[in-house]
Symmetry: C3
Subunit: 502 residues, 3 copies
């Protein structure tokens, strides 16, 4: 029996060896000191790291990889980082002066919040691409847009009921951090210091960070950089496997406003993933279509470096995720070509509102990509599709998708025409009376049409090729119903000569 | 080390050998030619096939299997197919004259869309059974029923808002293909030919197919056959494993109208599947209860050939999936005994409408199966249950299920009585005024009651034995609420003497 | 080849041996007799058992385990059970006089329904803890509370529509068993006996049990004990693995009233679980953070015995699941400190209603745990968090969670103020007129606010740290919308001077 057990262990070791991990790459002295305490205090963190590639390979070893398999995109990595594994200290001690939360911790200048600009040391291309990703700007794109803030307040603000009317007070910080900015990212700020009595070594001083914790995609970090790599490469596992599985995207893309995961999970692609993924290779770089996986996940279409059987590049890796997206199917309030600039706060529609479309359905075209760029992105996306589907299949699917953009925009226009009549007739107070278009019951019903039902219909088309979810689950059934409800609401008030609001 | 790695490879080979695959079965010359180009162009397709049983075994070898394990149900298979693996050419070259999309492709008469009548060459029983399945007729059963088309138009039609009224224009082809007919299946039609400039070999001519792509269960194929085997046995993997997992059914059975997957996933059976299925055998034929799996998936109860420990047959395989279904729990508008004929367009209720029930809750019994057939089907279904549950358990569960059919039908009747009053009093225009009963706001609220809430309640009962999902998630809570909403809507109009519509 | 196959089998055997299973522990004679028939009749049950630990180890062997790994918590186990595996007879023959469903079955005094008081023979601590769990009292806590019964009737009762009004008749037994009491547990009762003609041995007599089948957490058993261990440790597998996976909890905690699973699955923790759990160890006792798993499931935070790398206890195992819960986030109608007594029927709020809060938001504090106990429970919960998160992270998250309790309670108060005005003005009949506050359309809309939207928002906060699901999927968006709807409903009636109800 001993022999067999030995055999098993030997085998496990060889597998490790085969995938390029070395037991010999040293841990830095600083990291060793961190581990001394933290492996007992934070076994969850330390174990994640120990299972990660970061704990097993030095940047120098990683840079020795040539060709498409190379994961470190920086041409140079700081000398002192090159020959040790990427441990606690290697990240949390980087660029101490750049981070407002740097504090003395047992003789080291530690910062709590590691940022994309830290990761940039080894992953410069990814950091550079991500900074141009609209997601990196998700904080400001919401918090810096007065029009969206009206909407935000009507959703997460505090209601007051007085004299038969509902008014909305501003939401508090904690609610904002837990609601919209959980995904969009909070703006971090050091507000002071505090002494904590730690079990391990008694009293220690730590920075107090407003907006913490947060792992939102557009987090404003304490070094001024934007985003959080751990939004997808979760914390100390830094796992490419996890980022490539659709559960990661689900964290922010599942609700009725952006139901990407939900419609994917009910699609043919999602079915194949759910049924078969246990035998796929989620760690291979590059990622080989057919060999490593047999149906796309979110990452496949939007991010990953894909190759075919002959190791020809099918699509380049990108962390600027709209590189393959001609259309933005999230309606604001209509679906539209993607914005040119990832910072969308400067966009103005023809009515002067900070919206990529106007209420009549027109595009704020000066701020949006043109036909040529749309064509380039469409082809970048379709390059992946064509490895499993004939071109008539892909063309047929795409035509339906673009038709769905057109028809859902048309339905949004119908809803908006009714809403306009309601505003014109004075049954609700809208933008023309300098009032929020989102804070009355009938306005919320209108918001349902474009925020939930038109969006869901488009997401079902884009990620599922259509199907039941685009009809009965927050889709067309509900879109047409909401339009009828708006008309029913107005008709009753017109019929009964309900007095108009002041 | 080399030795051990050799050992691992040797082992992998032996496992392949053990499950009956042979490296020696030849690939036909025609298929070899397909693979020459397509393994590079379509690695996703080719890999799926290479991993499939079709790529590893010839029909002759498959026919040599005796007893319950045999998968090829045809007694004879065309001579030329018998001794090669089932490759590209074996299916896409079959019956070229029968397919309207047959075209010359490098000297071969290829057709794009492989149909059940092609698969019938080896799988004749399954094809024959499926043709009697109501799902095979899903296209016509919708597109050929004027009453349902009213409903369809009120959901996916184009709204127009004029003079304070909403009207519905006909939906376009692309929307229909992506919405209802994604699941029901499109009607395929060759509309012409086009020249495409292919990367591999320059200009080639291909047929242009209207309604393509589609994998709906009732697709009308270019050889006139109905259905798409790849709706469940996804494309080139032809996987029994995938078809047996519930994710496949989810593609069409998850929305609030038919939430089979949703309620299953929250059921005891679904729990066991989710937690334990990674160690089940999804490929075994026959499928042995307890040994291969410990809780049913959709396929277990509705389709699969099941045996017990002693290899006694518990239920026969059927691809006529209503073989074990006495009741049709999808309310149209009430749940009812299953139709006799899978083509339901000839059904007329007592009011002459093409519906299996009338608005007062009566059954169109001439067109529906009788008590005796219902009993046979009930016993066929329960035969599976009884392998894990005592007969008092099964009886108790079934009684509740039939009670739920009764009570949800009763609630639908309450809702319909209110709707009738609304029509009678002229607050909406209904069938008696030759108007669609689905195109006004209050009518949509009525449709919610039977289409979503009564259905969800019944599905939760049938596939979950009840539970939270049948109460709070689109279930009884919402059913009773919608009934009260209908009454509230009517009461307000009566109280205020709202003028009736013309 | 033979050698290698032998090797594989040998290896499998050694693994079994390594985890402590013995082929030598005898099966009792009585169990052997059960298996004689039932392995053919009920292969699903018997196989589950054969794969379970119960079939492989005797209580005596289990009691020989020392330290934290011990699973049998009783100090003594009845002599006759000690040296055989835990088979059919060992449980179904226990305490025959205590069970009202005991009947003679081939010479044995069998009972159908095994109860926590049977399991107590070996698992006394778990049984004792569970009896103090509020879940054990779920039957009476609903069926014995008149106020909740009003709510129950307005959801699952039978509607009648007469004279333009909807009334609710009492629901029937079958509906109750399938709806609320599927999760809460039914009250079992032997109502007689029946002869069944069995395939195996002809006519046999069995007890007829009202309320059967049921596996609800608060089932009232035929020996008077409360609960059903198989609600989580499903039937004859008795699997700790299954109980530790979140799918088990999903059975009752997924609907919009208590969407624990739903928000978990969309959380960072849920993402890690979904992506990585296939390589976790779900059977290890104690359960080591970081080593056995890298993100918590429901059981981790609420039940399991957790240790860190050094095998220090992080949290004690508890089957009294509110041991780590200061707050009850299920609003009745507001979130509140947990009740002191698991039997909540004696609670009275300041208005004399059997509710832990009053309609103005006050707590029935005499019946609820105090600040000190809340602090103890909070620390017990956070003890787990701190193994993966720094204390500022945990504190930040907890502050947001408690803030969300406050703000959602405040929103519920706004909704209730409007509802009160509606009652005061006579547009609906409420509790002050001795009428159910749940049986009119506008009251249901009010119920939405606290039952679905405030609850979902709190669950998303507690189990997901917030995110999209707490905003757009049954969360804050819908909470503020429902509040506006209530006000819109009232405003219209006030404006139009709709006559008040009598």
């Amino acid at each position: 029996m001993k022999k067999l057990i030995y055999l098993i262990f030997a085998w496990a070791f060889l597998i490790n060896a085969a995938i390029g991990m070395s037991e010999d790459t040293p841990i830095s002295e600083a990291t060793a000191e961190c581990l001394d305490c933290h492996s007992a205090i934070h076994p969850g963190i330390v174990n994640d790291w120990q299972n990660s590639r970061h704990s097993k390979i030095s940047p120098k070893q990683a840079m020795a990889v040539t060709g498409l398999a190379r994961k470190v995109s920086s041409d140079t990595v700081p000398e002192n980082l090159q020959n040790v594994v990427v441990g606690c200290a290697e990240c949390h001690l980087l660029r101490p002066k750049a981070h407002a939360d740097t504090f003395d911790h047992n003789g080291y200048d530690i910062h709590v919040v590691v940022s994309p600009d830290d990761c940039r040391a080894c992953h410069s291309q990814e950091a550079a691409q991500y900074s141009k990703n609209i997601m990196a700007h998700a904080y400001k794109n919401l918090a810096g847009n007065n029009f969206y803030l009206h909407h935000q307040r009507s959703i997460i603000g505090k209601t007051e009921y007085t004299d038969g009317a509902i008014t909305f007070k501003e939401s508090d910080d904690a609610t904002r951090a837990e609601a919209c900015y959980y995904c969009h990212g909070t703006k971090l700020k050091v507000t002071g210091k505090e002494i904590r009595d730690t079990e391990a070594v008694g009293e220690l001083e730590f920075p107090v960070i407003e907006g913490w914790p947060n792992q939102g995609v557009g987090r404003v970090n304490l070094d001024g950089s934007l985003g959080s790599c751990s939004a997808c490469h979760t914390r100390h596992a830094f796992s490419i496997e996890m980022a490539r599985k659709p559960y990661t995207c689900k964290e922010c893309h599942v609700g009725p406003d952006v139901p990407a995961y939900k419609v994917y999970a009910a699609s043919k692609h999602g079915n194949i993933f759910s049924a078969m993924n246990k035998s796929w290779n989620f760690k291979a770089v590059p990622w080989s279509i057919g060999k490593d996986f047999t149906a796309p996940t979110c990452a496949t279409c939007h991010i990953s470096l894909l190759v075919n059987e002959e190791e020809d590049v099918v699509t380049e890796r990108t962390h600027q995720m709209n590189n393959r997206l001609p259309w933005r199917i999230l309606g604001l309030i209509y679906a539209h070509p993607h914005p040119k600039d990832p910072d969308t706060t400067s966009i103005r529609n023809k009515d002067g509102l900070p919206l990529p479309t106007d209420f009549a359905g027109g595009f704020a075209s000066d701020y949006l990509i043109g036909k040529e760029e749309m064509q380039i992105r469409q082809e970048a996306m379709q390059a992946a599709c064509l490895n499993c589907h004939g071109s008539s299949w892909v063309k047929g699917q795409w035509n339906r998708f673009e038709n769905t953009i057109k028809t859902t925009n048309a339905e949004t226009l119908t809803a908006t025409k009714i809403m306009n009549d309601i505003w014109q007739l004075g049954y609700a107070r809208g933008p023309e009376k300098q009032s929020s278009p989102f804070d009355e019951a009938v306005e919320k019903r209108w918001a349902d049409t474009w925020l939930f039902y038109a969006n869901t219909t488009r997401f079902a088309s884009a990620m599922g090729g259509g199907g039941d979810y685009g009809v009965f689950a927050d889709g067309r059934y509900h879109l047409s119903k909401a339009i009828m409800d708006l008309n029913d609401w107005l008709t009753l008030r017109k019929t009964m000569s309900v007095p108009q609001q002041k």
